[in-house]
Assembly symmetry: C3
Homo-oligomer: 123 residues x 3
Amino acid sequence: MANASESIERLTPGPRMSQGVVHGGLLYTAGQVDKESADVGEQTKNVLAKIDALLARAQSSKSQVLSANVWLSDMATFDEMNRVWEHWIDPHNPPARATVESRLATPEYKVEIAIIAVAGEAQ
Amino acid sequence: MANASESIERLTPGPRMSQGVVHGGLLYTAGQVDKESADVGEQTKNVLAKIDALLARAQSSKSQVLSANVWLSDMATFDEMNRVWEHWIDPHNPPARATVESRLATPEYKVEIAIIAVAGEAQ
Amino acid sequence: MANASESIERLTPGPRMSQGVVHGGLLYTAGQVDKESADVGEQTKNVLAKIDALLARAQSSKSQVLSANVWLSDMATFDEMNRVWEHWIDPHNPPARATVESRLATPEYKVEIAIIAVAGEAQ
């Protein structure tokens, strides 16, 4: 067995998943979703705020995101999502990204985003 | 060229893909699928057994999984998959996870799971 | 804050994303797509040529790809994509891979591929 579990830090662990996991200088987030709003732009804002919070807990920030997966429940909302995304990212440090259409866990979810970022020690 | 190919270990390499790749202390698995059963819960069990086997070959275990991608061919099976998933994971070490709906390589496949985990040397 | 942003190199950064990001000896690419051709096999060739170019810029090569995500807009094209894929990969070093169906950013896109690979310093 790799004897490394002590160096894996789990953020907001629950019975199904952790919202983030920090190991080896990287943060891996769970897919973040929101249903405060029915609007995909608002959901994107709220999802990115959750990602900001996870990044902060991992002593990271949006300028240190390496890659992102974006899932939209309806690709017709691509532009609405992008407007919020492009406002959010650090323009000097854009991550790699792949955006595809997939139905999400509940029809209320319009967008889901997971990222990998450079991290410090989790707090 | 990065002269690092000697440190990349490939598990069950085939003409299309390896079932797992170990490098830099991490195991990356291929998407694992199963068609022994038509039932999504049974398929999830079988898929996770395949992941356990890959983890073991990488001197790792389910307590060292960092992140997981779960694809369901029908999101209506979300709860059935989750029952098996929640029983499988180490409750003290839940991975980050994103679950979305996507049609899979054949209609027989109901669930596909790929993970990234901390690994030792592959065997 | 993890003080590591100077060690993150971004390939072809744009207002929305970078086409690749190099950090910690790994290259993470954005989802690569093509619309030069309407044919999924041709698109796969062109997408893999873009990945070859990103790998070269990261002092890497297709023999050092760790994992790949392939999205097809129509799983009926699985065999056509695979013919090109299997010709492309280094048969001695096949990556882990997951292939699922998802609608892509525009209907013209039939295939999208993102990879993680071992990298040297980006150029």
